[in-house]
């Protein structure tokens, strides 16, 4: 029998590895599988946001609004568009918010949207605060990989992993380029569980997703009756809340009391913001799109703490450099009341109506009339 040579085994294992990588790239990196993603998954939201951005009407100027779930829940593009109509400034507002995302993910989503033929008059981006004081280490947020891996190109192969700090996170980010299929693992197994239903759902969302997104009216429940103890920060919550909502509110009450509504600045936040807000500003400048930033209503009891009108840090610097425009920090302070929120973070349907109209008006004041 012909002996098997060591070198040939090594060579053919390498060939097998190459075939695997090529197959993974053909199925996943090419974007072929992305069209069959579960519409209600995290990536499905990204896909819907991109589809929504593509579907913006061409007959008037368009404004793209981006942010996380706070924008998804609190901002209605049809209401803002109607408000613009009433103001005699026909403008199509487009909501490209994706729940659970951060500025790093917004950069890649915006890059994808702004690379298309559709021209936007402005990108309106949320900021949770006008200071470099994000309490979480956003640079280490591994969830960002799950949101953006289909949007990455080979040019990002070093840059994207380098934006994470721990080595394990960098390796995980690198996997998005080498074995992208591993990020579709849950989706693939769910698809195989019931392929027919998945296909039907995908078709339905493809045909009606933008329409359904526009028709979303927000959540009706409110926190009216929520009170805080001035001495301890302990909250008296209205009856009928879910345990998760109550726990979230308790934590919110504690931090509100401890920091008087404003977390302390930290260098990690400053570094992160300089990188990603800076990149977003550069991206918009390159695309010739005005970048407007607003502070999202921060919580249901922030009206109880002292006003915080003066931006500092990265956003203030970028504004001073003319790279973006900040809406007034106090623009939406009146909405920071329990009756406009359904949990400690998100506006309810009542808040959504007010916020959408006010944001549209504030943005249009910053934009020159369309020609």
């Amino acid at each position: 029998m012909q002996p098997i040579r060591r070198r040939s085994v090594g060579l053919w294992l390498c060939v097998g590895l190459a075939v695997f990588l090529a197959t993974d790239a053909a199925i996943f990196r090419s974007g072929w599988y992305f069209q069959w993603i579960e519409p209600l998954s995290a990536l499905g939201q990204v896909r819907l946001a991109l589809a929504n951005a593509r579907a913006a009407p061409q007959d008037r100027q368009a404004v793209l609004v981006i942010g996380d779930s706070r924008v998804g829940e609190g901002f209605s593009a049809p209401l803002a568009t109607a408000a613009a109509e009433r103001l005699g400034r026909p403008t199509a507002f487009v909501n490209a918010a994706v729940g659970g995302t951060n500025p790093r993910a917004w950069f890649y989503i915006l890059r994808q949207i702004l690379a298309s033929d559709r021209r936007y008059a402005a990108v309106v981006m949320m900021a949770p605060s006008y200071h470099d004081n994000d309490p979480l280490a956003l640079a280490d947020a591994l969830t960002d990989i799950a949101f953006v891996h289909p949007l990455l190109g080979w040019a990002d192969v070093f840059d994207f992993p380098a934006s994470f700090h721990p080595l394990a996170a960098k390796i995980e980010a690198m996997k998005a380029f080498v074995t992208e299929g591993s990020f579709y693992k849950t989706d693939v197994t769910n698809l195989l569980d019931d392929p027919q239903t998945r296909m039907q759902n995908v078709e339905l969302w493809r045909d009606h997703g933008v329409e359904w997104l526009g028709a979303y009216a927000g959540r009706a429940p409110s926190l009216a009756g929520l009170r805080a103890d001035d001495a301890t920060g302990a909250l008296s919550v209205p009856a009928g809340l879910l345990p998760l909502q109550t726990a979230g509110l308790a934590e919110y009450g504690k931090t509100l009391h401890a920091f008087a509504g404003r977390f302390p600045d930290n260098p990690g936040s400053a570094q992160y913001r300089r990188l990603w807000y800076g990149r977003i500003a550069a991206l918009c400048a390159q695309a010739g799109v005005k970048l407007i930033v607003f502070r999202i209503p921060r919580g249901p009891l922030h009206s109880l703490v002292a006003a915080d009108p003066q931006p500092t840090g990265t956003l203030a610097d970028l504004q001073a450099g003319g790279r973006l425009a900040l809406l007034s920090a106090t623009q939406f302070d009146d909405l920071e009341r329990p009756e406009y929120f359904f949990d400690y973070l998100h506006l309810n349907s009542g808040g959504r109506v007010l916020f959408s109209g006010q944001l549209a008006e504030a943005v249009l004041q910053r934009l020159p009339p369309a020609k």
Binding site: Q2, V9, V188, T189
Partner: protein, 475 residues
């Protein structure tokens, strides 16, 4: 450092490379150092225990060998060596259990007698290997090893250290003399074994583990018969794929380092009776128990009644070997009873009369199903945390309500279908042989295609999102 972790494969690649560029003696020393480092990654203090075990048994082996030549004292030395090894195992593994049981009997407050002894990983495996070495030297099956590095490698060799297979001196030491150089066949066979093992562990076992854990870690009290059957069946599949997967990886790694381990599983769930099952399941343990416990107890030589007692003792202690709990003892005794019942049945019925091929196949299929059912029911005691849960699950299996849970867990059916497909594909290890044979372009093409497919399967279906330790690591 688990076999299914990235760190292990970095470690393994470094060790393999170092062994390849070193002369045979140096490679063995590297393997000993690497094995201690591997073990120390769980807890550096445990390296001392392993080292003490190696040193002690190296010298007891020499002493027994010397005493045999001198013609006196060998038996006493053997008794001392075996007692010391069992004492070590007993102290670390069973002391807490017996103290807790004693406290419970004497109605003492919990913790009064407790020493909070840490259970060292793999102690059950390496003490059994040490005992078999001393006994084999005494029996004259192997000479006492005079090279300390070789002996240290036998005990500590990392592919088998933490969860077996339990290596025998007569199988391992001759390989040291052979100075085998890694061949293309070794490379291909080892790679196929490792990939197969990883698929068994991360695709099959871990996916079944999600279902089994959901039931045994919380669902027992709230569900009925269907959930009990699904949970029990899922654990039955999990433990096979988990342990067989571990063994495949261990055998593959050993082969890539130039050593061969004996098979530990021979498709045990296809056994047609319980005795055959134990010839196919955890073979290295069952043969160890046979050679070092059952036969010394008298085996089949001391009358019918004694055979049954020996079976019960052997399997009861075999159960207890897995862990210090009454559940493991009950599981072992249950298998002892099944083996005794099977033996009694066989003696009563005599040899079955010859039948036609179809009837034979149908009979074998029915016997296989009954055996699988019997084994699977036994896993309830093995998996459940205590007697109360065991009884509850057994009660639900046979008398539980069907009403509350008529839906199947996610992925259960696809997993069962994939399992059946796997059984058909790899029946009689034909996948292994097919992929390990054939040189030239065609032979290599099938290897690279299968390798690419396996990587894709691992990428998409392995449960790297959850951490499910190998079950036998705890023993």
């Amino acid at each position: 450092m688990l076999f299914n972790s990235f760190e292990f494969w970095m470690f393994f690649a470094a060790v393999m490379l170092a062994c390849q560029v070193s002369p045979p003696r140096g490679a063995r020393a590297i393997l000993v150092v690497a094995s201690f480092a591997f073990y120390g990654m769980w807890d550096t203090r445990l390296m001392l225990l392993l080292a003490a075990c190696v040193v002690f048994n190296f010298f007891t082996g020499l002493a027994i060998g010397g005493a045999l030549q001198a013609g006196r004292g060998a038996k006493a030395l053997l008794a001392f060596a075996v007692a010391a090894n069992l004492g070590l195992l007993g102290f670390f593994k069973y002391f807490g259990f017996f103290v807790a049981s004693l406290s419970s009997l004497a109605t003492l407050p919990a913790g009064v007698l407790a020493l909070h002894v840490v259970l060292p990983v793999a102690i059950s495996f390496y003490t059994f290997e040490a005992i078999s070495y001393n006994v084999d030297v005494y029996r004259g099956n192997v000479p006492a090893r005079r090279n300390f590095v070789d002996f240290a490698l036998f005990i500590s060799f990392f592919p088998h250290l933490v969860a077996g297979p339990i290596i025998r001196p007569g199988h391992f030491f001759p390989q040291l003399a052979a100075h085998r150089r890694l061949s293309g066949e070794d490379l291909r066979w080892g790679a196929v074994q490792i990939v197969k093992g990883l698929i068994k562990k991360t695709v099959f076992a871990d996916n079944f583990a999600v279902i089994a854990n959901a039931y045994f870690n919380g669902g027992v009290g709230e569900s009925g018969a269907l959930a009990a059957w699904i949970g029990t069946l899922a654990f039955s599949m999990q433990i096979y794929f988990d342990f067989a997967g571990y063994t495949d990886i261990a055998r593959g790694c050993a082969r890539l380092l130039g050593y061969e381990f004996p098979p530990n599983f021979e498709r045990p769930y296809l056994a047609a009776n319980i005795a055959e099952f134990w010839r196919r399941w955890h073979i290295s343990l069952s043969t160890w128990l046979r050679d070092y416990l059952y036969i010394p107890l008298g085996g089949n030589r001391r009358g019918k009644a004694r055979v049954y007692v020996n079976l019960l003792i052997t399997m009861g202690l075999g159960g207890l070997w897995h862990g210090a709990s009454w559940n493991f003892l009950a599981w072992g005794l249950y298998h002892g009873i099944l083996l005794a019942a099977h033996r009694a049945w066989r003696e009563w019925r005599g040899a079955p009369p010859p039948v036609g091929a179809v009837r034979h196949a149908l009979g074998r299929a029915a016997a296989t199903a009954v055996t699988f059912l019997g084994v699977t029911l036994g896993w309830v005691a093995f998996r459940a945390p205590d007697f109360a849960t065991t009884w509850k699950v057994l009660g639900d299996l046979f008398a539980g309500s069907l009403a509350p849970d008529l839906s199947l867990p996610d992925r259960f059916l696809p997993l069962i279908i994939a399992t059946l497909l796997w059984v058909v594909l790899d029946r009689d290890r034909r996948l292994q042989y097919w992929l390990s044979s054939g040189a030239g372009f065609a032979g290599m093409l099938k290897v690279s295609s299968a390798f690419a497919l396996a990587l894709l399967v691992l990428e998409l279906f392995s449960r790297t999102d959850i951490s499910v330790p190998f079950i036998y690591f705890q023993f």
